[in-house]
Amino acid sequence: MGKAAKRKRKVSVPSTAKGPVKSAMAVVKSNPFEVKVNRQKFDILGRKTKNDVGLPGVSRSKAIKKRNQTLLKEYKEREKTNVFKDKRFGEYNTKITPEEKMIRRFALERQQNYGKKNIYNLNEDEELTHYGQSLAEIEKLNDIVDSDSDTEERGTLSAELTAAHFGGGGGLLRKKVSNEQQDEAEEKPKSRKELLEEMIAKSKQEKQERQTRRESALELTEKLDKDWKEIQTLIAHKTPKSERKDKETEKPKPDEYDMIVRELGFEMKAKPSERLKTEEELAKEEQARLQKLEADRLRRMRGIDEEANKKRPSHMSADDLADGFILDKDDRRLLSYKDGKINIENEEEKEEDEGEEEEEEEGEEEDNENEEESQEESASENEEDDAADSHSDLESDLESEEEAAGNKEEKKHKANENESQNVEKSDLKREAAKSELPYTFSVPESYETLKSLLAGRTIEEQLIILERIQKCNHPSLAVGNKAKLEKLFGFLLEYVGELATLDLPELRTIDKLVLPLYNLCQMFPEAASDSIKFILRDAAHDLEEVIEVKGRATYPGLDTLIYLKIVSLLFPTSDFWHPVVTPAFMYMSQLLTKCRVTTLQDVIKGLFICCLFLEYVSLSRRFVPELINFLLGVLHISLPKKKAQGYTVVHPFTPVGKNLELLLVCDKEDLKSWEKQNVPLSIVTRLKETSRTEINHTRLSCLALCFDLIKKCAALYESLPSFHEIMHPVRILLTQHLPSNMDFCCSRTSSEWYHSALKELENRVKHYTPLICEKKKPVPLKQYTPKIVKVLEFGRKQAGSKKEQERKQLIQRHKRELKGAIREIRKDNQYLARMQLSEIMERDSARKRKVKELLGSLATQEGEWKAMKRNKWKN
């Protein structure tokens, strides 16, 4: 429509100066003399060219016009100081349509006139107008006109009416006449305002049309919907056939066909349903996932392509999978079933909803909650069972022990007291207490709040509290939750540390608290690694200070050991380099080399660290010299004092000194009665056995541990080329010095350990192959053939990173702009020069003209004078 209108206008107003520029352009474009074609040498497919056709005339005239408006004005006003200010509203604002402009102006005017001129004049109302004329006047005039025209023009008006209502020949005739009149009116060159009005009217009409179209479409869809519903009912309820049949019979036949067509059209596309996976498939998927993770781990362990793999997704949690949601879902189900744990990580989405529900309906749906509660309880019980399975025999006597401990130290520690009291309470009471737990927790802002929150609760309750904290404050629920939960990790670590430093370390609690720590760590790896690094740094600095002040160091408390153990649980220890594990390695190495072994507890701590080392490197099989040194030292202090031969112990052990024979057991009775049992970790903080036999038994346990570690080391380092050199001192000690200490070997259990370790050492074959360097790549000769670079996209610079490319682009744009500006300035100057020249020419021609005139007048004067003279002469 719009296009047609334009064309029409073009015809009616042929390229007048005032007409729209576009039409002029179109005319010019069609004129072959105006067009300049930039010929291209080669046609290249797919290349877009911007400047293949130019209109020099048009662009020149445009430029000149623009200069006339701007530069010329300036030039003319160059020595004038007064300024013309156009204060008309929105005169130069092109965004406002003229109509709007008018309205605004009118509103402004009204605003200015508004407000009574005289406050006492109550009757002075604003004058109402219509089309700028006062309404009162119009009314008056109308009356007059009506009364006047009543007689004369009534006929014509009625004629129109009749034409409209009844058709009739006269009407047509009249119409023609009026049309002719209209044509005449149109033929007149329209003013700009008229044109604009026309345009506005057109656009409005279009709008209206669009609206109606939309409405009709809506109606149609509604109707369709209704139809569909009918059909749906047909499909759904097939039983009441008799009723339907009646209706169907009423309907004509083709409807049935339509119906089928529609049915087919609307039928849901066959969607692949999710088949429930069999156990095997689930297992396979899980295996594949683990394999992928393991491959990742191996790659990191070798540390070959550290750089190349920097782009890897940073967060690699247990449920972070490459292949979509199905696995994710399965994974969730699998974990929750298999482990019998409430795995927050995997059930996030579900949990969220639940949490919200909980928050909303807390008061209303008590029953629901109770159900859930019981579910959770059962889950935690399951978990307990699991733990019981894994630790089988230990778990059973835990409670009784705890009770006993509670009885003893009731007054000693408040938290302890509460706990033990809670333990003492009957199961029923505990249930009641549990049901009292609130369902929403805010994240504790400080360590003290967390402590007070967890104090006096049983392990299970503490776990539930932590779980709920995590659920209620999941990062996706609110903005600040992430930072809060990140802090929670630090607090929890601190709490674990405090539990470990207690007089009677609550290791069982720590054992369970590792779970929330793991989950939080999976959620926020960066924050977790930072807080652990912080702890490690503090510990290392303390150690260093002690060394500087005293010259030697002592072993740290149990809390540090527990932290080191937790590191191995949270992070992969087999990586070639890891932000947390590598510092932990360094710290443990310092502990083993710097700390002096003076007591039995030191030996146990040292062996604990040895175990840690062994666990850290169990997958990567990395070589830890400190470990072997320490084990050798431990064996050394189990020997009776004499000059050591064939091997040398290194720091912190000395071949001679006061701390020898720390592990020496002389009592044969003790040797006989000793049975291998696990070393309780609480020994580290408090050595409670005072009887000689018990101490001797602990010593023997340490030795057994040491033998086992040696055995494991031997298995681990078997593949090292200098395995025999590494193990040489240990072997000498075992074969030559220990047997002389016959006491040890006569005990059955201890000799078992000893022989198994020795066997492991001696069963390795010696195998050496000479080293050969890797072949060096020959350095290529310098050649002068051109370097050929593959060009992927023409006209674009290839090299450089994104940043570099951007920079280049900017530089190029700047260059282009600069060139353009220079060209413009040059053209401006040319234009000005032309203007000046034309001025000068004008002035000159005026002067010439005037001189000519003068000369002419003089000549006529002269002529007249001569004529007069001649006449005189004649006369």
Binding site: L293, S314, H315, A540, H541, P579, P625, S722, Y768
Partner: protein, 425 residues
């Protein structure tokens, strides 16, 4: 009057042994004032112009007071240091100390006196000898005829200094003191001796003792060998035997390896010797902490660069395919018989599996053929474990890989070593 004065001096000398430090200090200051005054106004008439008017006997009393045989007087001695700035006082104190050491040791019949020796050491170790004669301008007693006096000659000072040290070191020292003496010997003693070679006996004995003392004696010996043409038989053999597992753990590691680097820098050393050193160092590296490993691996690389003949240790293309024993004999004292050149550096290959990433990387360098440039190990010599730790902690990680195995409690991993040996009670 003189009698009273002598009594007073005697009393003050006794007070030097008082319990309270302030009393001791005051007594010391008074006595020194007496010394100063007596030097200016001598009690005995000067017989001729050139005579020295310094009260040596009085100073002897002071020195004896400073060197009690049964307690540590380091505090008082440090107070006395301000008087040692005077060149004449220093001269006479050195003389007095020499006499005192001789007397006391004679009396005790060579029985070691740890406190006495400790005191002597703390008195004489901070002695700051002048470098040039022109620097000797600070005298307690102004003498008119200074130029002619023995006192003002550096040569004389050096002689006294040398005598004092030799008397002191003639006697058996306790181990701690031995080390301290050796630590300062090359720096503050040897340069001020007229005949540094006189120290040779002492250093040779010290070098023969073994352990840390030998390591420390090495420095003094180096100066003697380097600057005074000392010929030390079997020096390298001795150095070789010094290498035992403790060298990577002792405090003086940096100093030792600095010197070893110097000794092994000569390109005229036979290949078998260098190979033996390389092999022994790397064998010992199997027990070394990471900070020492980070130093010793570039050290070994440097040895390879200096002595290309040793490269067979890392590159032996035509060797026997399979050996059942390392040809190198660790126990052999004589480097030439250790068969090091027949061996290969399997130790470094083992260290490529070291847990510390930097060590593993450094060890992996030997897999490739080495570059020509020597590594600079001066910065690595002083490396400490805490520095290494700090370096690691400060590294920024882009991402933190996590353990994917679900946790099941503190000792819940499968095949957990802890669960076998520790219980959570």
């Amino acid at each position: 009057m003189r009698h009273r004065y002598r009594d007073c001096v005697g009393c003050l000398g006794e007070l030097m042994g008082h319990e309270a430090f302030q009393v001791k200090e005051l007594a010391l200051c008074t006595l020194m004032k007496f010394v100063e005054l007596e030097a200016q106004y001598p009690l005995i008439k000067i017989e001729w112009k050139g005579t020295l008017t310094f009260p040596c006997d009085l100073l002897k009393v002071v020195v004896d007071g400073l060197l009690p045989t049964h307690e540590d007087a380091s505090l008082l001695i440090s107070r006395f240091q301000e008087y040692m700035e005077y060149d004449d006082v220093r001269y006479f104190v050195m003389k007095a100390v020499t006499a005192s050491v001789g007397q006391v040791m004679q009396k005790t019949k060579e029985r070691p006196l740890p406190f006495y020796q400790q005191n002597v050491f703390s008195l004489i170790s901070p002695i700051n000898m002048p470098n040039k004669e022109s620097e000797m301008v600070k005298f307690m007693v102004k003498q008119d005829n200074r130029e002619e006096l023995k006192l003002s000659r550096l040569q004389a000072h050096k002689q006294v200094f040398e005598k004092m040290w030799l008397t002191f070191l003639k006697h058996k020292l306790p181990t701690g003191l031995y080390k301290k003496v050796l630590v300062i010997l090359h720096d503050s003693v040897l340069p001020y001796m007229n005949e540094p070679t006189l120290m040779m006996d002492f250093l040779t004995v010290a070098y023969g003792i073994g352990g840390a003392i030998s390591l420390l004696a090495l420095n003094g010996l180096f100066i003697l060998i380097h600057q005074h043409n000392l010929e030390y038989p079997d020096f390298y053999k001795k150095l070789y035997s010094l290498l035992d597992p403790s060298i990577y753990h002792v405090k003086y590691r940096a100093r030792f390896f600095h010197l070893t680097d110097l000794f092994l820098s000569s390109s005229h050393l036979p290949a078998y010797l260098v190979a033996a050193f390389i092999k022994r160092l790397s064998r010992l590296a199997l027990t070394a902490p990471p900070e020492a490993l980070l130093m010793i691996i570039p050290f070994i690389c440097n040895l390879f660069r200096r002595h290309p003949a040793c490269r067979v240790l890392v590159h032996r293309p035509g060797g026997p395919a399979d050996m059942s024993e390392d040809p190198y004999v660790m126990e052999e004292e004589e480097p030439s018989k250790s068969r090091a050149l027949e061996s290969s550096l399997w130790e470094i290959q083992s260290l490529q599996n070291h847990y510390h990433p930097d060590v593993a990387k450094a060890a992996a360098v030997l897999n490739q053929s080495l570059s020509e440039m020597e590594d600079d190990i001066s910065g690595l010599l002083e490396l400490s474990a805490s520095e290494l730790f700090d370096k690691e902690v400060k590294k920024k990680a882009v991402d933190v890989p996590l353990e994917f195995e679900q946790v099941r409690g503190l000792f819940g991993k499968k095949n957990d070593i802890f669960a076998e040996h520790f219980s959570l009670d």
